[in-house]
Symmetry: C2
């Protein structure tokens, strides 16, 4: 019998970096973690990461094909991280090459959303799909686009910044310096802003987290339901335009806001279908929640790049 | 010495269908043409086309790898044409399979804009590029998207309907039933509408063709220049959003309006760069006119699918 194949997945986050051994069926074992902020320089961090990776590779019960890393601002083409708003080091550093040199194994890096799309393709609901979009609805809004079975990176590795499509001309100010970006409406921050407006207009104390909004919606709170309605309206409209570019089979939601499930999906689908160009209406794409929503999708996705 | 490779390219249009033998360097020979409207049924047309294809294949001085067809509403995945607004037959017909059966050679079909993108990739300015968008600015606005070296078809073969991205909410009515589609501003019809508004407001008789507008711009007519300014503003803004999705190396303009060259390019580039997300500003994509603008691009592009 052929031995199982393995890859090591790394989910590099602002606070913690999680590392795990992933088999070809998407099972994670030997999970371990580093405190990202403990390391003064990228070099110190890579040294510690290399050690953990070698330990895990040493005990793997089969061939390890390489290491995949999902990290904020990571560029697949250059293999580098530059000017990340979330990581402790602001300087440019060639993470892929630094680690590859230290461990002598293939290494690939990409950003969080593109890693999640890889995970969804190999282990989640996108299995067997050739064209889909994975939308991450968290602190920000990101995306991983798969076309013809392959991740769309663009010429510079920076395709898929769907959070920065203008959803409302002259709308809410965005961190990018422009106004009305999708991210200012459909992220955790965006939905809290929407909630604040609705609740303060009704003389109520606003929700403090997006999770509270979901919990309130679950017990039928009309304000919370209205927040999701308004959010879905903005999101669905933008997605209809993105569909015109890519015509995917499915658009899959992942991340904190995706926990709201139908509270978000139903109004988004309504706005999406209303706005959709007629040629797409016969064979409409599905809008769905990620199959890895409560799994360690970042590790799985990172490993999926090299398995 | 190895013999040159050839393919047969077919540019199927509403009035005429042009057929030519294309070599691997993009030279066309043995061109011939059918009057599309002469044939009562798709079957009659395919019989005539099969005969021409076999005649050309018979005299080719090397191996012919297949037949590529660019046609309105042609679907790459299904190989069929359905409900074309421009062809004489409204019914569904499986053009690819019908021709393949008649001639016993590989056949591929796709729509005009996707064929043009293939041609640009193999024989035009996109040689060596892996990520670009070919925008056709003619009677309508279409596009062929290349990502990672491959055409983006979408799950149903209908990706790239960029003409139907909403450029202005509640803008001009579009044939698709919605309002404000890019096509209502940046096509030949769209630019004539813009000219009409500007010139009638100034008590002048409007231009009758988009070519007249270009000719007037060439001699410095301020109305014509203003028409291109307004058109470029709308087009550039939409393209900045599309860039956010795909991050291509270049956006290439093809078709009637592209003959205006810098009169269109300059204001479009200005609006595009103003609207572009900051992460793309360091390594901005190029906006350019097609390298096949005055060649028989439709035949070249169709042949490029199979060569």
């Amino acid at each position: 019998m052929a031995k199982k194949k393995y890859a090591i997945g790394v989910d590099m986050g602002a606070s913690f970096t999680k590392i795990g051994l992933v088999d070809e069926n998407g099972n994670i074992s030997n999970e371990t973690e580093l405190s990202t902020t403990d390391y003064k320089t990228p070099k110190n961090f890579v040294d510690a990461l290399a050690l953990q990776v070698q330990l895990i590779a040493g005990i793997a019960p089969g061939e390890v094909s390489g290491v995949g890393i999902g990290a904020p601002n990571a560029n697949y083409h250059s293999g580098a991280i530059n000017n990340s708003a979330n990581l402790p080091w602001k300087e440019y550093f060639p993470l892929r090459d630094m680690l590859m040199e230290a461990i002598d194994m293939p290494v690939k890096i990409t950003n969080d959303a593109k890693a999640a799309a890889q995970g969804e393709l190999l282990f989640g609901k996108a299995k067997g799909m050739k064209d889909f979009i994975l939308l991450t609805l968290g602190t920000g809004v990101g995306s991983g686009i798969v076309s013809n079975g392959q991740l769309v990176y663009g010429h510079d590795g920076m395709a898929g910044e769907l959070g920065h499509i203008i959803a409302k001309p002259n709308g809410r100010p965005c961190g990018c310096g422009r106004k009305g970006c999708l991210e200012t409406y459909a992220s955790a921050t965006g939905i809290l802003n929407t909630a604040q407006k609705i609740m303060m207009a009704n003389g109520l104390i606003p929700f403090q987290t997006s999770r509270e909004i979901t919990e309130a919606a679950m017990i039928g709170n009309p304000m919370a339901l209205e927040v999701f309605n308004q959010t879905g309206k903005v999101l669905g409209k933008v997605l209809a335009h993105v569909h015109t570019v890519l015509s995917p089979e499915a658009i899959i939601f992942f991340g904190g806001l995706a926990n709201a499930r139908d509270f978000l999906l139903v109004p988004t689908r309504k706005a999406f279908e209303e706005e959709l160009l007629f040629v797409y209406k016969e064979d409409k794409p599905e809008l769905m929640i990620s199959g890895l929503q409560h799994k360690n999708a970042a590790i799985l996705g990172a490993a999926a790049m090299v398995i």
